[in-house]
Symmetry: C2
Subunit: 357 residues, 2 copies
Amino acid sequence: MQKADGMFYAPKGKPNPVCKEGEFQIAAIGLDHGHIYGMCNGMVEGGAELKWVYDPDPAKVKQFCQAFPKVQAASSEDEILNDLSVRLIASARIPSERCSLGLKVMDHGKHYFADKPPLTTLNQLAEARRKAEDSGMKYAVYYAERLHSECAVYAGQLIEEGTIGRVVQVIGLGPHRMNPDTRPPWFFKKKKYGGIICDIGSHQIEQFLSFAGAKDAKILHSKVANYNHPQYPELEDFGDASLVADNGATAYFRVDWFTPDGLGAWGDGRTFILGTQGYIELRKYLDVSRDNEGDQVYLVDHEGEKRFSVCGKVGFPYFGKLILDCLGGTEKAMTQEHTFKAAELAIKAQMQAKRIE
Amino acid sequence: MQKADGMFYAPKGKPNPVCKEGEFQIAAIGLDHGHIYGMCNGMVEGGAELKWVYDPDPAKVKQFCQAFPKVQAASSEDEILNDLSVRLIASARIPSERCSLGLKVMDHGKHYFADKPPLTTLNQLAEARRKAEDSGMKYAVYYAERLHSECAVYAGQLIEEGTIGRVVQVIGLGPHRMNPDTRPPWFFKKKKYGGIICDIGSHQIEQFLSFAGAKDAKILHSKVANYNHPQYPELEDFGDASLVADNGATAYFRVDWFTPDGLGAWGDGRTFILGTQGYIELRKYLDVSRDNEGDQVYLVDHEGEKRFSVCGKVGFPYFGKLILDCLGGTEKAMTQEHTFKAAELAIKAQMQAKRIE
């Protein structure tokens, strides 16, 4: 049996529309990564109407239409781009091609919602920044490991309330299952996926900036390796990085493709948030050998040890906020600068990474 | 009530003498750190006879004699050094003074067993290396977080059996409770304790070298900070480091003094060992909010998720092996080079550490 690998990770929440039916129409272009399901599901739960889908591969479109029965298959990208009723386009195209689509989307006066990594080079980033500035459109990013994780949302609330004092460090472990047989060819081409830190490390950096309440950070050290997959010479199966934020908080994260077959989830994702008055541990997708249900929050403060099982209890406020931001010109879901900063730091950490042989 | 802070952490095992009664006599000089209790207890369980104790502070000697009723209080260091029947002297003197005592001990034809950190400067290290070479005596070190931790011993066995394939990374989290009111003045003087990485980081480096099966490593990055204790300007309440071993395995560790009062142990020590075929997590001193008993080993391989509660089941083979090494001139407990290498890397990581303000 195929083991879960996160390719089609698409958490379900509760519908919680922030707008009237039909008020915020969206479309999906580019179904290369299964994250598009989670992205669209989140937006629909937030109140968006998913009008169109397009991908050059009819099989991918067919599968998508089964998951979202109300969506129409468009005959081309242009059919969607030229539909004035569409306000936002979501895409999980091949990472290196996400930016070029985004520029086109913004040129058509629509907001863009890219899977992570939203782009793979600093040149693309500069273009995206310029276009967002010039067009007034948003280039939002699906940093799912925080935005689509109830325990991560809850951790943000605990930090906000001052429960652990000042955040001094965030450690993130992001192991993933590879299932190489199920992966498309671009998964193994570094120019296309951007490198392991650029790709799955971008989540980690976004979480760090958010939990630490930081606006910017510096890369102190990063590295990548291909320890065990010589048959895929451009794959990096290991990456890590250390950062320091503008407010003095630091981060370490590791990402890898070593999830063993025996794990009951695609990865034993963890986050450790160390504060001056306590700490939080998140066991995101399961609580290994204790509980198959993820979203377990461990909090230790001066009073005691606490555990909160928050699956189904917190929801995913990001998507509704993003819709309201698009409708109202606000930045409550996430600022554009934060969105780009996480991507920028991920690309820089990737570029500076020492290669371990 | 005073919360446990690890100062008097002294695991109890089962007596398992490797030699005849009286065959291996030892003494304790320097009771500045409570680790001396764990050190002597481990040696006695291994079959050593604890003959003497000396410390300039009679109160410390009195307390020690209550814990070890058969020990005699010596009137001076020399009384012990000149006793030809004593084969090994254990010491938990102030870290910066451990080496000078060790040199004297070896000059008297006795083996030395120092608490960690065994020394605090590269000059001391060079002297200790030379003396060990010239005298043929051992300069052993109490790297308790592996040697006196049943789950760590068990992890070593699992790795040895190939359970997780090739070890590619070791992450260690070493939080400690500070209890500043109970700490002696030297605890806050950097020259005396050596810096947080030199001190409690030395455990982490020793574990890395052991679990990765490495002989040497390079420091890639390290840092220290005093985030929340401005009243102790020479204290470092945070430190971390990234290393790469001669065999390509890498390490990250964090050490800190932020254990919150609510935790049921002095620190939520963890070790994550990532292999090409699985991974191991150790929850050393408790399993937070799940089990007050430590020594929990989580193993995930291609077959499944497993948990082993190994408290009382594995024992501490180090001490008996050390006795046999001293008696037989072997190096089965730990090689002298490994012992010094861990200390060397800890001092270098400390010296190179970037200071976060």
